[in-house]
């Protein structure tokens, strides 16, 4: 297959590639960061108050069903072509992943561990931060990986909001409009690599902050 790659064009645009990669990571990080914080509190509420569990999960599910292009289009008329318009949908789409995974992480803490923590005299917030959160880390990071990868994919869609956004999606959209495959690949391939790279980094991070999980695997 002839990919029709124009090497000279690529060499001339490497500085732009660096800028767009940085922008891509920035747009994704803002969304993942804000989405994580919101989801964390929703998940804590869901796990602490069982009655709130189903409504909170249903709420985040509903958000996820809204088509992204439609949402961007609608938001333009409300918030204009701004960073807010970019981030609101990106944050919304992380919620369903985060809320489910963080809640599942808290649910995965064995009841005898909770019982022991109470009996030892942890206060409820000490128990949350020193027992439940650390033990939920594997599932929280599983959620983080999914959210990061899916957000990195979605950032490319924000290129429809104009040249100031889109990260690597800028090249994809422009390459498509100009029927110039080199530019299209120039956006698509790095964005895929970026997703792989971030995922691999998160796996490493999980291993380094959950030494007990590794030791369990070795022992069994």
């Amino acid at each position: 297959m002839d990919l029709n790659v124009d090497v000279a064009w690529i060499v001339d645009h490497l500085d732009e590639l660096a800028y767009r990669t940085f922008q891509h990571l920035l747009l994704a990080s803002i969304a993942v960061g804000i989405g994580f914080v919101i989801s964390f509190f929703l998940a804590v509420i869901a796990v602490r108050r069982r009655a709130a569990y189903a409504p909170i999960l249903a709420f985040s599910d509903v958000l996820y069903t809204i088509p992204s292009l439609a949402l961007f289009a609608v938001l333009i008329s409300v918030t204009g072509i701004t960073l807010l318009t970019v981030e609101i949908p990106l944050v919304m789409y992380t919620l369903v992943i985060f809320v489910r995974n963080i809640a599942a992480g808290f649910d995965s803490v064995p009841t005898d561990v909770i019982g022991a923590a109470d009996g030892l005299g942890y206060t409820s917030s000490q128990r949350l931060w020193r027992v439940e959160v650390p033990l939920a880390v594997p599932l929280i990071i599983a959620g983080l990986r999914l959210a990061a990868v899916s957000t990195i994919g979605l950032v490319t869609v924000t290129s429809i909001l104009g040249d100031s956004f889109g990260g690597l999606g800028f090249f994809i959209l422009e390459g498509y409009r100009r029927s110039f495959p080199t530019e299209l690949y120039f956006g698509a391939i790095p964005s895929i690599l970026l997703a792989f790279l971030v995922d691999a980094l998160l796996v490493r991070m999980e291993r380094s902050i959950t030494p007990w999980a590794r030791s369990a695997a070795v022992a069994s």
Binding site: P110, D112, V113, G115, A116, A117, D118, G119, L120, G121, Y122, T123, Q126, V131, P134, L135, T210, P211, W212, S215, A216, V218, A219, S220
Partner: protein
Amino acid sequence: MNAVELEFLNVSKRYGSLAVVNDLSLKVPAGRICVFVGPSGCGKTTSLKMVNRLIEPTSGEILIGGRNVMSEDPIELRRGIGYVIQQVGLLPHLTVAGNIAIVPRLLGWDAARVRARVEELMELVGLDVGRYRDRYPAQLSGGERQRVGVARALAADPPLMLMDEPFGAVDPIVRERLQDELLHLQERLAKTIVFVTHDIDEAIKMGDLVAVLQVGGVLAQFGPPAQILAHPASEFVARFVGADRALKLLSLRTVADLDLKPADTPDGPLLTQDMTLRDALSEILAAGTMSGRVVDESGRVVGEASIEQIAAALRETAARKPA
């Protein structure tokens, strides 16, 4: 810290119309092991958990050293009481040292004091510091986990320990060793211990006092193990302690308790002085003789024990006035 007296005064726990603990009154003297034993649904674990307020009584009072637990701050109360639970409940993300250090850290001890205390306790329960300190619970055997659980409960030197089926999850051989170790520790520590089990043999072995509970949280009998075996207060207790209660009674005494006759039997099994009378009887019956030869530590025969003597010891134990 010195042991304290624990007293239940007319304690009841009801959930709606369901009575889980019914008007429980008993007193555990300081430094004694009291075992709550009974079938499932007898409220033994609920009774235990009311002591550190993991469950709150519907009525009645629980007094630790004369102070009503309901007037204490529950968090402070729990940090001051050792707690060992059935599945051990070690925190899987903390090392052995981290688990033992939980209560001292919650109490705000400085790092050097915590470290010294952790090492002292690991030695006390027989865990090599260098080898085990940095291991995670998943890397330990069931028996090792239980030792860590006991060390953790002892960390802040509490006067009172609550043990909820602490040896329920280990195999019988390890359980017996852990029981022996705990009794051995208790000789030195003399804590007040409330110990919950569904196993009557464990209750008899571990308890200075045994509280037999029946379904609905009714106290069926409370007293020293020998009294419960010799004089069951009701049909329920008699059935619960089992048809072999005479043999269980024999397991409370050892060959050393007998007045040995001079040895004139040429055969007969060799019996050691620390053997329980139950095991001695079994050895004699298995050998098909009517007596056995008792040896001292060096293996020298010091006398003879017969089935009649064992039977006499049983009658004497059973005839003792209830304490």
